[in-house]
């Protein structure tokens, strides 16, 4: 094998590895209840992370410790993450009737979380920093529920 061919093959392998790694986040169908539960736990964990981020942001806002432009980006990023998590989860087909119940429970929590983060994002955009504490008061409980789902499933 010539050096040129070897270099080309090595290059192809590197590109293939990058593509494989990059595709790691794509949604796939669940073949078993166990797989479904694992993916649901990962979803709950990722959603809880976004909600906790917003919760810390609200805490900073309440103490007058963060600027409006910064909070706007922070909540936007968290909201975007949460939307990706939600659409990824809902695009999967639950493998059994039992999984339907779990899906409904988590789906409700995700809807609630998306609504809460949307409300924060909109309030910041309108300059209503003083109202963030009131709008975000349900975040700790919501994050707690998502974490409880994750703990139940792992």
């Amino acid at each position: 094998m010539s050096a040129r061919v070897r270099v080309r093959r090595a290059g192809t392998a590197v590109v293939a590895a990058a593509v494989l790694a990059a595709s790691g986040g794509c949604a796939s169908s669940s073949r078993s209840d166990g797989d479904w539960r694992r993916k649901t736990a990962e979803t709950a964990e990722a959603a809880a992370s976004a909600v906790r981020t917003a919760e810390i942001g609200v805490r900073a806002a309440k103490g007058g410790k963060a600027t409006g432009p910064y909070l706007s980006v922070l909540f936007n990023d968290a909201d975007k993450d949460l939307n990706e998590v939600q659409s990824g989860y809902l695009s999967r087909q639950p493998p059994s009737v039992g999984a339907d119940n779990l899906r409904a429970r988590v789906s409700d929590l995700l809807d609630e979380a998306v609504d809460a983060l949307d409300a924060l994002r909109i309030a910041v955009r309108r300059g209503q920093i003083g109202k963030l504490a009131e709008i975000g008061k349900g975040l700790p409980a919501l994050a707690g529920q998502l974490e409880a789902v994750q703990e139940d499933l792992t």
Partner: protein
């Protein structure tokens, strides 16, 4: 003051190496996900880059040869070309991410979407490279990047239990729920970020731009042994702040907005403002560093006249490479590619390319024909050899670990 100004090259290089956009997010991500369990790897990487930066700087001062010049001479034109391709790919990916990083910092200050800032940032980086003197450039951005020391203050304000922190640092363990391959993947990413090849390309080329001679060896050493540890301290403080605030909350870090959150909580708007200025300066400095490194590596490989201090008319091909690199990287980011993901992958590819960069430095720093009485001593050789073995192991393990862990997911 004069002594502080003498180490700005080391500080700027280290800031590019330890707190560029990828490292800012990676350090915070690792702290939020693993607590203090990977601090040891940051220390391992820090010692490694100090050892090799000192060697590369010493070779530049004594033999007047920058690193990539040696790579081609010692590895031959073919392997040198492969190394050029790999190093340039990593450097360009990093440059693209840095341009986005500067724009992201401005977005956090203004809430105007970062993509709108990318063309202006690219133009500004080019103007600084074109018009500002090398020493002025390194002093402004090296010293301004030190504002990130606000993360150190934030760590103290977060009031950690120091005994607990010390225990976690000295008894590292894979956290519950994390796999060993994922832990090792992030360990490699941290190591690669500390020893990214463009750091030594920039450091040695910068030394030649500053006309280092054997009489400047003390300056070389102060740059390597003070500048890089300062960069390491900043990375450590970012990791620690995340470990103290975000780790207990179960937050996973994916955005720059989360990286600076601890400074806001601990120090309020003033701390947040300083952190954002520091991020701007660090990523801007890293943009300059990577843009120039692109020109340095290509020009040194092909034997063209190079140097920021050289008039564009006399080093036209070097300056053309810098301009093309800036335009290409700006275009790449304007496609909407996630800049944080870009640097995460570039760190893994950097890990693969590490041995080809560091082997020639070790060989030449050990060669009395080039170095005379300034050739490596026993300690430098021992450390250099140990680290060469480490980078070899890491370069072999990087890609399989990336695949096995789906890039750390």
């Amino acid at each position: 003051m004069k002594r502080l100004l003498a180490v700005t090259l080391g500080i700027l290089t280290a800031i590019g190496g330890f707190v560029d956009i990828g490292d800012l997010v990676a350090s915070s991500l690792v702290g939020a996900r693993f607590g203090f369990a990977l601090v040891w790897m940051l220390a391992v990487g820090l010692v490694g880059i100090c050892v090799y930066a000192e060697m590369a700087g010493r070779v530049a001062a004594v033999a007047g040869r920058p690193t990539f010049d040696l790579v081609r001479e010692r590895l031959g034109p073919r392997i040198g070309l492969a190394n050029l391709a790999a190093s340039l790919l990593v450097t360009l990916l990093t440059l693209a991410a840095e341009l986005a990083g500067v724009a992201l910092a401005v977005e956090l200050l203004s809430s105007v979407p970062y993509l709108l800032w990318v063309p202006a940032v690219t133009l500004l980086v080019w103007l600084v490279i074109w018009r500002v003197r090398f020493e002025t450039m390194e002093r402004i951005f090296g010293l301004l990047g030190l504002v990130l020391i606000v993360f150190v203050v934030a760590v103290f304000r977060l009031d950690p239990s120091w005994g607990d922190v010390l225990h976690q640092v000295t008894h590292p363990a894979v956290p519950q729920g994390e796999g060993v391959p994922t832990y090792l993947y992030y360990a490699i990413a941290l190591f690669a970020s500390a020893m990214t090849p463009y750091e030594v390309f920039f450091f040695s080329s910068g030394g030649i731009e500053e006309k280092w001679k054997p009489k400047d060896l003390a300056t070389v050493r102060v740059n390597a042994f003070l500048g890089f540890p300062l960069g390491g301290l900043l990375a450590l403080s970012i990791m620690a702040a995340a470990a103290l605030l975000l780790h207990p909350a179960g937050v996973s870090v994916d955005h720059l907005s989360q990286v600076v959150l601890p400074t806001s909580v601990a120090l309020g708007k003033f701390g947040l403002g300083l952190a954002l200025i520091g991020v701007f300066a660090a990523t801007f400095g890293a943009s300059l560093e990577t843009a120039l490194s692109s020109g340095y590596t290509v020009a040194q490989y092909f034997g063209w006249r190079w140097g920021k201090t050289a008039a564009p008319r006399t080093a036209s091909r070097f300056h053309l490479v810098v301009i093309v690199a800036l335009l290409a990287c700006s275009a790449l980011i304007l496609t909407g590619l996630d800049p944080v993901k870009v640097t995460e992958y570039s760190l893994v590819f950097a890990a693969v390319a590490l041995p080809l960069t560091y082997l020639p430095i070790l060989v030449v720093a050990n060669d009395p024909e080039y170095m005379g009485e300034h050739a490596n001593g026993r300690l430098a050789n021992t450390l250099g050899t140990v680290y060469l073995v480490i980078v070899l192991v890491i370069s072999v393990a990087a890609l399989p670990l990336m695949l096995a862990t789906k890039a750390g997911q």
